[in-house]
Symmetry: C2
Subunit: 257 residues, 2 copies
C-alpha cells in the first residue's frame, strides 16, 4: 500500500485548513504554490454553502491564495452538477443569494419544483422559508441537502450549520435528504473525476475527522487530518484512523517532493 | 378488563377533538357539559404550546365551551410544574410571549440558565434565537422540549410544529431533549395525578394515534381515537390498537351514562 505522501493529487478543505477565524493559516499559501510548482493537481473540496465559487475565489485571492474558480469544488457546485445530470429540472433553492449563482442556468421556482435544495443560510433561515420547503417536499419535490454539518465557528462563536435545518425538515416530512456534499461518496467521486486521477491516488486533507477523513476513506481515497481548525486531540480516539496527521497544510511543502 | 366507557375520568385533546380548522366540532360543547353534569372529572390535555392556559380558556369560552383554567393541562403548564419541582431554576424560554405567562414567577434569563425550554413559536422561530439556545445548551443548560410534534394544520396548510426545531437542536448539540408534553409518560402521570384517579380508570380522547392513543396506553391509561381532526383511516393499521374509536367527541353523550 502506498502512503499518502505518494498521492498524485489532493483534495483540500478550506475552512480550518487554508484559513481559520477569518485569517489565513501561516504557510498555507506557500503550500498551495508548492503543489502547483510540482505539477500536482488539487481541488478545494469544501462544504461551505453560503458563497458561490466566484465569491470563494475572490475571498481566497484577498488572502494571497492563487486559485482559479475551476479549482474550487464546493457542495453547491457538486449539487448544480448533479441537477444538470437530471435533465432540465426545476428547483427551489434554500440558499443565500450568493450561493445561488452556482445554479445559473437552472430554472428556479417555488411552484411544484422537482427538487428542494438546501444549504446553510445563516441568519436568513426563518420559519416562513422552512414551511415553504416543507410543503414543497410533501408535495413531491426531492429533497437535496448540500451538507449536514452540525455547526461551525464564526465570530459569534459556534454557530448552527445547514445540518440542523436539514434534519428538521427530514423529521417533519419523514423523508431523508440526498446529501450531495461531504461526506457523501458521490461528492468525493465527482471531485476525483474532475481531477482525472484514481481515488486511491488522491489524499483528502481536512480538519474534520468524520466528514473529511472518514468520508474520503469510505470513497477509497486517503484521509489526512490537520491539527488546525476544529481539530481536537480526542479526534484521534474517534475510531477513524487517518492515513496521516500533519501539523498544518504548511507541512505539504515538506512531504510532497 | 373494564372497557373505556367505564372510565371514571377523561383527558381530552383540544385541536382536532374540540375544534378543527378554527371551528368547534359539532356537539363538542354539549359533550363537555354532559361530562360536567354527570360529575365526571376531566382535563384538557394538549400539546398546544403557543398560548398560555388563560389564553386557551378565553379561546374556548369564545366557542361556547364552559371551561375553567384549572381544567386545562397543557404542555407549558406541565413544564412549569416540572421546573418548580427543581427548586428555583433559571430558564431561557423559547416560547411565544403568550405561552411564557404559564411560567410567571420563574426566573428567566439568557445568561447561563439551568434550563432551555422550547415550544412552538410559529413564525417567530429564527436562526438568531436557535443559535442562542444552541450555545446555552452547549454551555450546560438542560434542554426541555414541550413536545416534538412534527406538524399541524393551520390556515396556511400543514405547518411545522415544535418537533422539527427541537430535533434540529438535538442534532446540533448531540443532546436529547427531555420531552414534557404528550406522549411522555411524565405528562400523563402529572395529568392523572391532577385528576386524582388511577391511570387505568382514565381514558385519553384524541385524534393522534401515536401521541394521544399510544402515549396514553404506555402510561397505563385507556386510549380512545376520534375520527375528526388529523384522523386518517390508515391510523387503524398503525399497529396501535385504540381501546375505542368514536365518530367524534359528541359521542360521549351516548357512551358516558
Amino acid at each position: 500500500m502506498n502512503s499518502w505522501q505518494d498521492s498524485r493529487a489532493f483534495l483540500i478543505d478550506l475552512d480550518g485548513v487554508l484559513y481559520d477565524d477569518n485569517q489565513p493559516i501561516p504557510g498555507a499559501a506557500e503550500a498551495i504554490a508548492h503543489l502547483r510548482e510540482k505539477g500536482c493537481p488539487f481541488r478545494f473540496a469544501t462544504n461551505t454553502t453560503m458563497r458561490c465559487r466566484a465569491s470563494l475565489q475572490r475571498k481566497l485571492a484577498g488572502w494571497g491564495f492563487q486559485v482559479s474558480e475551476d479549482e474550487i469544488f464546493s457542495a453547491p457546485v457538486a449539487a448544480a452538477h448533479y441537477l444538470r445530470q437530471q435533465g432540465q429540472p426545476r428547483a427551489f433553492l434554500l440558499l443565500t443569494e450568493d450561493a445561488q449563482r452556482d445554479f445559473d442556468g437552472l430554472e428556479t421556482t417555488d411552484q411544484q419544483p422537482d427538487f428542494v435544495v438546501m444549504g446553510d443560510m445563516g441568519d436568513e433561515f426563518n420559519a416562513t422559508l422552512l414551511n415553504k420547503a416543507f410543503r414543497l417536499i410533501l408535495g413531491g419535490a426531492e429533497f437535496i441537502a448540500l451538507q449536514k454539518n452540525r455547526y461551525w465557528k464564526t465570530a459569534e462563536g459556534l454557530t448552527l450549520d445547514a445540518g440542523p435545518f436539514v434534519v428538521a425538515l427530514e423529521y417533519a416530512t419523514g423523508q431523508q435528504a440526498r446529501v450531495i456534499g461531504k461526506p457523501s461518496r458521490d461528492f468525493f467521486q465527482l471531485a476525483v473525476d474532475d481531477l482525472g486521477v484514481a481515488p486511491a491516488q488522491v489524499a483528502m486533507i481536512g480538519d474534520d475527522i468524520e466528514v473529511d477523513v472518514g468520508g474520503a476513506q469510505r470513497a477509497g481515497l486517503k484521509g489526512v487530518l490537520v491539527r488546525t481548525g476544529k481539530f481536537r486531540e480526542t479526534d484521534l480516539q474517534s475510531g477513524i484512523e487517518p492515513d496521516g496527521v500533519i501539523h498544518s497544510i504548511a507541512d505539504l511543502v515538506e512531504y510532497v517532493k
